[in-house]
Amino acid sequence: MATVVIMLIALVVVGGAYSALAPSRAEASTTASPEDVTAGRDLFLANCSNCHGLQGQGTEDAPTLIGVGAASVDFQVGTGRMPLQANSVQAPDRTEDFSQEEVSQMAAYVASLAPGPAIPAEEYTEIVEDPERVSKGNELFRTNCAMCHNVVGAGGALTRGKYAPQLRETDPKYVYEAMLTGPSNMPVFNDANISPEEKQDIASYLRHLKDNESPGGVELGSIGPVTEGAFAWIAGITILIGSAVWLTTRSS
């Protein structure tokens, strides 16, 4: 009995240490590149036209890209959501297939099909540190984003297996573009609803969260009472019962 308890405690300790020390995913790098509509068209025909049509007009399998704008392409291809790897409820973000230069070229081509949301200027995708703006970002995020993405961007569930992804590691440019274009089931937050400065505030708030680890210690995924309750039972009660077992056994 004591052996079992000791092994259980060891498991908890080792597992906990791993979770605390395991490396986090690296951020995708984003560097600006010059646009080349023609190069973009070639890439488009090779990788996207099967589903989106030769003129980007859309088919049964995929929606039209006419009017989606450079921002949509930069977001979808830049985060690896497109080209779609497999049919599922939702395109997950994954390691992107193309370099930023290629992405920009494809974006330039799609933008040339019809006017649409543009890739944001760098002045709006830089992180701002002014506390007033970070506070604004916090307020806006809570009202417009937290219900799907969770108050600290830990992610959340939608219906039928869809989800709002976690935002801890997301590049500010993609945060901006996602708001602007409303990918998948995310609603559109156009610039009249959330202005460019406000979008910047939101991204800055998210970055503030990432840069400031919880002062209370291990965050358990910032999921809230679920992981806290699970931890209390799995770690807390186990350790306490373990000590009770030790206490009541005879010394040899």
């Binding site: 959340g156 998948s184 089931n185 559109v188 009249a192 680890e213 209370g216 210690g217 010394s251 040899s252």
Partner: protein, 338 residues
């Protein structure tokens, strides 16, 4: 289920004088610990306990030093440093005392099992007779049995006494009246963005958008949070052809821009999740799902009633305005709702 009785009817063999049940073999012989028999082991245990208590002292010391060495500077890292060191110090200080004492008890205090007899909980016959007699005598001495005037008047007084107690809670709260049926929305009240109260133009609400809305003037009202809990609204644009036709709601939308109450008709959480492509609204609390294309009818979950629609129009400057209050009380159901 098949009734299994196992082993109950084994017949006693003849000529055997075995009892029907096993007898209790008594407390087993005491086994001595190494610390009982070996003085060196006992001394070692003593030293171990001392070391553990010393760890506790170290913990307290760590707490004291950290309290002054790591002040709070408003940054998360400083708070984290303080919390960790104070916590480690305090935790060690307390835990080590416990571990030390228990180790001491386990290894050095006597561990001979002792036996104590249980006593009857129930009183003896004498106790019971005596107690009954006392209660009876006391009752008779009080006279309440004989003096019915006293008894009845006491009962009368006692029956009335709780009423002041209950009545003193009378000003506990206003009666609901029709408070739950009215919100700040009226004809001409502008729809504004939550929380800044900036008005919204119809042309701003593009396809696939969702705006979180409060009535103009909410932040200046006497009870802003209470009004918000009834008046919060979602503004969504759909293709006019996508929405189910309801003749009695003709003119409640503006070119496919619809306004619905944001307060869930289940138990009142904000139904804030909007799925653009499926045009479903999802409440995160208990997963009630409303289909905007069917005028927010419930398609999944514990809610029953659809979200009430707010009839809207456009004013002369192009801003969205309500044309009346909700046609029914928004938010969770209540008995007199009708």
């Amino acid at each position: 289920m098949r009734d299994e009785h196992v082993g109950t009817d084994v017949a006693a063999p003849e000529g055997q004088n075995l009892p029907d049940r096993f007898a209790n073999p008594g407390v087993p012989a005491h086994r001595f610990r190494t610390t009982d028999t070996d003085t060196r082991a006992a001394k070692r245990a003593e030293r171990q306990v001392a070391v553990i208590f010393a760890l506790s002292a170290l913990g307290s010391l760590l707490f004291i030093i950290s309290y002054f060495a790591f002040p709070l500077e408003g940054t998360f890292s400083s708070i984290q440093r303080s919390t960790w060191t104070l916590g480690l110090g305090l935790g060690l200080a307390i835990l080590a005392i416990g571990v030390g004492v228990v180790h001491w008890a386990r290894t050095l205090m006597p561990d001979h099992e002792q036996i104590e007899q249980r006593h009857d909980i129930r009183g003896t016959e004498e106790d019971r007779t005596e107690a009954a007699a006392i209660l009876q005598d006391g009752f008779e001495e009080s006279g309440i049995g004989r003096r019915s005037l006293i008894r009845n008047s006491l009962i009368g007084a006692g029956a009335l006494l709780p009423i002041p107690a209950v009545l003193s809670l009378g000003d506990l709260g206003p009666r609901p009246g029709d408070a739950l049926t009215h919100t700040l929305w009226r004809n001409g009240v502008r729809l504004t963005r939550d929380p800044d109260e900036l008005p919204i133009r119809a042309q701003d609400v593009t396809m696939g958008s969702v705006f979180h809305v409060i009535p103009e003037g909410l932040n200046e009202s006497e009870h802003p949070l209470e009004e918000k809990a009834k008046a919060a609204v979602l503004l969504i644009r759909l293709e006019p052809g996508d929405v189910e036709d309801l003749p009695e709601r003709e003119g409640w939308d503006v070119d496919g821009i619809y306004a619905y109450s944001k307060i869930c008709t289940h138990v009142g959480c904000p139904v804030a999740l909007y799925e653009q492509r499926t045009h479903h609204l999802l409440c995160p609390c208990h997963q009630s799902t409303f289909d905007v294309a069917q005028h927010c009818r419930v398609v999944f979950g514990p809610a029953k009633r659809p979200l009430p629609q707010l009839p809207i129009s456009v004013d002369e400057e192009g801003y969205l305005v309500a044309t009346s209050d909700f046609p029914e009380p928004p938010g969770p159901s209540f008995w007199e709702r009708g």
